[in-house]
């Protein structure tokens, strides 16, 4: 097996301190926003009695998804025998925990009563998927932390077992999150057996896309080397996943068209939903699927790192659109309480309400991104997550080397902090 050297970043440059300070300020937006929201009540958000799962829920599902993709990269080595990804498995495992923690922070800070955070753990409703998810999410984070610990301690056997467990738990987490929405039969646009599946696949594709961006910029700003073949490999994986996502979303919406109630709902999404129609056609299909597919199929662009990163960024934006469509239109659309009648009431029955995030929600959303970036910046300084140099050693070559150096490797100690000193680092 090939040997990799991991090292923390030095983190003494003015740029590092400036970036950490700036991120800490941004992260405080989340904390301030959450406290203000808790003390004042929901009314300072853009929510109404119709739209009660709002922008923070969109970010929640986006983060849960991004966590999956990172874990996939980490698990490629453990499960699919792509041992060349071992070099990236630490940082990928860390990011999957990070995004899950971020997802839970934004979820809990969106509750009306975040002070009752421990209630779900002892008042369990076995019929509720969200109730079970409390345990699934905490298991996922625990397994993830143990897995990362085993990776850092270089306990290969334990890491492998935990890696497999983590990926299996991830299937739980992501289908469980999809189910939260898929089982709501009161609202036309929610109820669907495809939702959990579409959720898992979009999670993997967007997570892979974001992981590529994080990896590229992490290595670039720490002046470390990463082999371009990692990006070529991952972009192929992403391309396949993008096709599946587009397929699943398309058939989900097409199926709705065959039910009269669904036609009404779908014409809102596809034709006259204003913002949501734009998100559906432009953000999801054009930016999220067509542009990345064209980039990744075109011979001139598919092996250029710059273009791969553009495709990744586009796809993350597209999946954000898919998440918006996943959560908001189903609530914005009036519930057909009395088919054949046009309802009006002071409680906004029969009206397609409008929802837009207000200041406190923007503060929470921008702040949570800042918080995660801050934690990441601090973590790569404290923990040896990033390899000094990420070489791409194909499994076959690694296997041959493993046999040659088997005994030698047993004794190999990790030279933490060794290797060429990484000079300047920024975000």
């Amino acid at each position: 097996m090939a040997k990799y050297y991991f090292a923390t970043i030095r983190g003494k440059s003015a740029g590092y301190y400036a970036a950490v300070t700036a991120l800490a300020v941004v992260a405080s937006f989340w904390l301030i926003g959450s406290i203000v929201r808790f003390l004042m009540g929901y009314y300072i958000t853009g929510m109404s009695h119709s739209v009660t799962w709002s922008a923070d829920k969109v970010i929640f599902v986006l983060f849960v998804g991004l966590s999956a993709g990172s874990l996939l990269i980490s698990g490629l080595a453990a499960i699919f025998g792509q041992t060349q990804f071992k070099v990236l498995s630490r940082v990928a495992a860390f990011n999957s925990i990070l995004f899950m923690v971020g997802a839970l922070l934004i979820l809990i800070s969106s509750w009306g009563r975040p002070d009752r955070i421990f209630l779900p753990f002892y008042n369990i409703n076995p019929r509720s998927l969200l109730s079970l998810n409390a345990f699934i999410y905490s298991t996922y984070i625990t397994v993830g932390i143990l897995y990362l610990w085993a990776l850092i301690k270089q306990n290969d056997k334990v890491a492998r077992a935990l890696g497999i467990t983590a990926v299996v738990t991830a299937i739980f987490v992501h289908s469980g999150t999809g189910f939260i929405f898929g089982i709501i039969n009161a609202r036309e646009l929610f109820f669907s057996p495809i939702t959990p599946l579409a959720f898992v696949v979009a999670a993997l594709s967007s997570g892979t896309a974001l992981a590529m961006l994080v990896l590229y910029f992490s290595f670039k700003f720490t002046n470390r080397q990463i082999d371009r073949r990692f990006f070529e490999f991952l972009s192929r994986v992403m391309l396949g996943l993008i096709f599946v996502v587009a397929f699943l979303v398309t058939i989900e919406h097409l199926t709705h068209l065959y039910v009269p109630e669904g036609q009404h709902a779908e014409s809102f999404v596809m034709r006259n939903g204003g913002f949501y129609t734009f998100v559906f056609w432009v953000q999801f299909y054009l930016v999220g699927a067509i542009i990345p597919i064209v980039i990744l199929l075109n011979k001139g662009t598919r092996n250029r790192i710059g273009w791969i990163l553009v495709a990744s960024a586009c796809h993350v934006v597209g999946v954000l659109g898919e998440r918006i469509l996943f959560i908001l239109p189903g609530q914005v659309l009036a519930i057909p309480l009395m088919p054949g009648y046009e309802l009006t009431s002071p409680f906004l029955d029969g009206v397609n309400v409008s929802y837009y995030p207000r200041l406190v929600e923007w503060a929470q959303i921008i702040g949570i991104f800042g918080l995660l970036a801050l934690i990441y910046m601090l973590a790569i300084r404290i923990l040896p997550l990033l390899p000094v140099q990420a070489d791409y050693i194909a499994p076959a070559a690694a296997h041959a080397e493993e046999e040659a150096t088997e005994e030698e490797e047993e004794a190999a100690e990790e030279p933490e902090g060794a290797g060429p000193a990484p000079a300047e680092e920024e975000e």
Partner: protein, 253 residues
């Protein structure tokens, strides 16, 4: 590579099993409930309401809405976006030309198979076993709003603001000192005026309707007016295809 192959297979097996488990665990609970008849009242009492829409003819000042607000201190803030309603009067326009407009009071349907109770994370929403009334324990609610999404009738109001910010008195609604203020950040909804039923009275909306459009009673008692009205077969429920078995029935829907 052979080692990896095996692990992949094990992985798929484990993944498949666990994913199946994730689906089956909550689903099986619902199957069990369905097999036991329903998840509604277990005792022999079941309260129900019948609303006669022919009597609900608009010859009033929406006394039901106001009575509900005054009896239960349901907060109103003067903003349509987040004013709470436990009972609201909706106007229904028919698409047919020349057809008269209808009115329909909408409230919690106290379903026997309530989606809000199924999804509640902390069992804050529950069906009271003795009489089938769907209640919320506001001390257990974490404010996740899953029930609001899951309710097919939009019967639930989250409490968006503090009671001190409510404009009930400024807007001409009296405040009932015997009933508590609603807690901020949690879900709330009609509870059939449980406190009045326990005193042997009808819910406030039933008492205050000038046209006697509301009839309330025990559906489980065949001699009650409610049971007899339902027995005529001329009552209907809203969104019957969902089969949540509502206990608020409409006559002349």
């Amino acid at each position: 590579m052979g080692k990896n192959e095996m692990d992949r297979r094990t992985f798929l097996k484990m993944g498949g099993l666990l994913a199946t488990g994730a689906v089956v665990a909550p689903g099986s609970q619902l199957l069990i409930a369905r097999a036991a008849g329903s998840s509604g009242a277990e005792g022999d009492k079941q309260y129900a309401m019948v609303i006669d829409l022919d009597r609900c003819n608009g010859d009033c000042d929406n006394e039901c809405e106001a009575a509900c607000r005054e009896e239960n201190n349901v907060p109103i803030y003067g903003d349509e976006r987040y004013d709470a309603y436990w009972l609201r009067m909706a106007e229904a326009k028919q698409h047919l030309p020349g057809a008269p407009d209808r009115r329909i009071p909408l409230l919690c349907m106290h379903c026997e198979d309530p989606p809000c109770v199924h999804v509640c994370v902390t069992k804050a929403s529950f069906v009271r076993k003795e009489d089938g009334i769907v209640l919320i324990d506001e001390h257990l609610c974490i404010g996740c709003r899953y029930c609001v999404i899951a309710c097919p009738y939009r019967a639930r109001s989250m409490i968006f603001r503090k009671w001190e910010d409510a404009k009930n008195e400024q807007m001409g609604f009296s405040v009932n000192p015997d009933q508590p203020e609603l807690m901020i950040g949690v879900a709330s909804k009609c509870h059939f005026c449980t406190h009045l039923i326990e005193k042997g009275e009808d819910p406030a909306c039933v008492q205050k309707c000038p046209n006697d459009a509301f009839v309330f009673g025990l559906a489980s008692d065949p001699d009650s007016e409610v049971a007899q009205m339902i027995a005529t077969g001329r009552t209907e429920v809203l969104r019957p295809v969902l089969e949540v078995e509502p206990n608020v029935h409409y006559m002349g829907l």
